[in-house]
Subunit: 257 residues, 2 copies
């Protein structure tokens, strides 16, 4: 089992990812929000890479069962129904609904990975559930951090630490002995340095401080709550749906031509 | 003083770097090789981003005082005089010579930074010299790691650890109190996890293992020898030349129109 990691999705091409098992990590906030929304009964999440795609797709869907959610610079997009705060995705709002989802970082990584061999959405709120699914599967995996695409370094410390916490758990597992890439080793070191208190970490990172500034301090608590939403969002066809932990194996799509 | 860091040069544009003080780190091996070459009396190093540029430029220079050096996949480029091993750049080979220098990762980062406000070449062999120059200057700085552009993650652990060792030293300095970006904080954590023994680190990283495989194990020892070549290569005009430590301040170019 080989574990690889990208600190942002930019170098990766949709075609390269076709044969990979991918875990997309966007702690603040896309991965967390999707996990919460599905846990609260949303039918599916359809991640898109641009506002244009969101508008195009929503034109062909039924208005009363479809919502548009997402953000630009952390704030709700004009004409959308929901922003990117997990607190907005309550059961009364999302139950039974399809959500077209467009964010600056996370949904870009997810849209790039849509044809991957398998795609799982990971964050602190479902950390152990993701780790258990990977342990069960025992296949090579690529952690794809969403990063901060609108910053020069395109790096997000909270995504790297969250991925590192998962890799650390896999690495400590008896008999698994995964081979780690340089970047996966780095993530483990970042987990050891900053993983003890996710809330303290989120309060200190660039994007965490930005979200606090624009009024989303409460979101940091939701996003830092390890294992508070123990479900496994996975790509199934063209949308992300829920698979309860240990219910069935992560689907491996049929051989793609 | 703000310290920022890029794990690879891909997201950065030449124009964005014009107002930045940049330290390019390519431990294995471009930064080390350039530092050794200049210390051994090379007149200047002209970093180029592609083999095409190298050929174009060398056509307009005098053959007997110009060498072409560099690598593709770690090996010497056909028609070049030298590869990218610091061991090749001995005094008898390089004294008084201009070297056109083209490598897969390091020279790309250097060519992108050629119009930066200032550009310093850093690695383990001149670690303290670089740190002292930055402490003296007390200006914002961007550490630009060369990374591994031909790998998917485009990340090189040894570059991140070396940059982290420098940032850690600046961070510990009395009265400096630099503000660190997420990526600069990550590099410090990587220094703490992996910086104790540079040689052990280099033997364990992806590129270090590759170089060992293709016969350059001895290079790892040269590249891991902290402060063994205490000089400061800086961009001066269009080429990299030597500034001895504490001899004169890093030149800040006149206001660019």
């Amino acid at each position: 089992m080989r574990i690889d990691l990208g600190f942002n999705p930019v170098p990766f091409d949709e075609l390269q990812l076709r044969d990979r098992n991918v875990v997309v990590i966007d702690v603040l906030r896309a991965s967390t929000t999707i996990t919460v929304a599905l846990s609260n009964g949303a039918r599916e999440i359809i991640p898109v890479g641009s506002i244009e795609s969101a508008v195009k797709i929503s034109g062909s869907l039924f208005g009363e069962v479809t919502l548009r959610g997402g953000e630009r610079n952390g704030k709700m997009i004009e004409g959308f129904n929901l922003g990117n705060s997990p607190a907005e995705y309550s059961e009364s709002t999302v139950r039974g609904k399809s959500v077209i989802f467009c964010t600056t970082n996370g949904s870009v990584a997810m849209a790039k990975s849509r044809y991957a061999r398998s795609l799982v959405i990971g964050s602190f709120v479902n950390l152990s559930t993701v780790v258990e699914a990977l342990m069960e599967k025992k296949e090579d995996v690529l952690f794809l951090c969403a990063g901060r695409l609108n910053s020069q370094g395109q790096f997000s410390l909270e995504d790297a630490v969250c991925a590192g916490s998962m890799i650390h758990r896999l690495n400590e597992m008896d008999g698994l002995n995964p081979e780690l890439s340089d970047s996966a080793r780095a993530a483990v070191a970042l987990h050891k340095a900053h993983g003890r208190s996710p809330l303290k970490l989120l309060k200190s990172t660039e994007h965490g401080m930005y979200l606090t500034e624009i009024g989303f301090a409460e979101d940091l608590k939701l996003c830092a709550a390890v294992d508070s939403v123990p479900v496994l969002p996975t790509m199934q066809g063209t949308s992300i749906k829920l698979r309860k932990a240990n219910q069935e194996p992560i689907p491996t799509p049929p051989e793609q031509a």
